[in-house]
Symmetry: C2
Subunit: 221 residues, 2 copies
């Protein structure tokens, strides 16, 4: 008996009860939060489980975030910044290569957006927002300002210039943007909600190329 106790004491002595991890915390916690939020939804996700993902106890989470709600907001904010950045970057590069058709720029933008959202991590953010829109109306509000409006503006510029230079016929630009972008949303929802596991995934390239082909050339013979 005393042998066993000694062993336990040894182990206790060997492994410190916890270690200090000063740099990383908030980001690790958000990773855990994303996992749990996606798995059970915001309301059912337990702080303790989130904490465990990051190798912490429940209480420690509160050293980094004031509340569960703040965690959700921080999570959204973190995912938004790189998207907004990369889109404005593409918009900035537009017009550099005079040879490039507007159609090709659109393809580039669509693929960029699709790639971002159809990778599992970013793609679950819109789903989260959709699910929590009722409880936290600031989330869609914020997302719309920071992501949707920005991307729509960027695409609008491209389509408008295509219409002006005669590459596109005179279409309703606002509506065309919707028709163009809708495929990304559809696919995010398909992959995240309806796709059965094991079922073959349509590749982003296939999807976007087909959609753009239809968008540009139409289905009529």
């Amino acid at each position: 008996m005393s042998k066993i106790i000694d062993q336990i004491k040894d182990v206790e002595h060997a492994l410190p009860k916890w270690r200090r991890r000063p740099k990383c915390r908030p980001d690790d916690i958000l990773d855990g939060a994303l996992k749990e939020f996606c798995l059970c939804g915001y309301a059912r996700a337990r702080i303790e489980d989130i904490a465990n993902h990051a190798g912490l106890s429940k209480g420690s989470v509160y050293l980094y975030f004031d509340s569960k709600e703040e965690m959700l907001k921080a999570l959204i904010r973190r995912s938004v910044t790189p998207i907004a950045l990369s889109l404005t970057e593409v918009a900035g590069h537009m017009g550099e290569d005079k040879e490039q058709t507007c159609a090709e720029i659109l393809r580039k933008m669509l693929k960029l957006t699709a790639t971002r959202f159809l990778d599992q991590k970013t793609g679950s953010i819109p789903l989260l927002i959709i699910g929590e829109a009722g409880n936290f109306p600031e989330l869609p509000e914020f997302y719309r300002d920071e992501v949707i409006e920005v991307s729509m503006k960027a695409i609008e510029t491209v389509i408008a210039s295509g219409v002006k230079n005669g590459e596109f016929r005179p279409i309703n630009i606002k509506l065309a943007i919707r028709s163009l972008m809708s495929i990304v949303i559809m696919q995010v929802i398909w992959n995240g909600v309806f796709k059965r596991k094991g079922e073959a995934t349509i590749t982003t390239d296939e999807l976007i190329n087909s959609h753009l082909d239809l968008f540009l050339n139409g289905a009529l013979a």
Copy 2:
């Protein structure tokens, strides 16, 4: 003082504490549930509030539904039935009018679907499913079988016959369906999540006509 008490007693005597409403209950309760689920999400919605919407007390709800989860499932089931019915009906009528182009049949189907989902009540069902997919994987499963697969099959038939008779060029039908239907999902999410109140709503006709115009004729000049 006694006057007031008398008045209260009168009122108490005049109005029975509750009334019997034998026929309607389950459906009224589901209406309340839909309202509350949309407002706060499934997890936060309180049975008591749902009951109050239907003019009942919490306990009475359990005379009609075994649990909160059963309510959610019943709600989804109720919304699914009429959709499946109307779609199979349209599919059944197909080919009656030989003069009708496939494009026009597609327009009719898209408008039917869009109208159903863009009326507030039905439109919130997919949003609910998206939000609760993590907790209740049976919901998307069920919805996919009963609504999505059925509608896709119906549309597939039309497009395929259009390709066969030369009205459409040889396109990838599975992908074309996605491109075609995506606009409805996009709009459901836009209206239910991102649209600011007071903001002008795009009419279903505008949306579908524009989308079909692009789908059929393309954007190129």
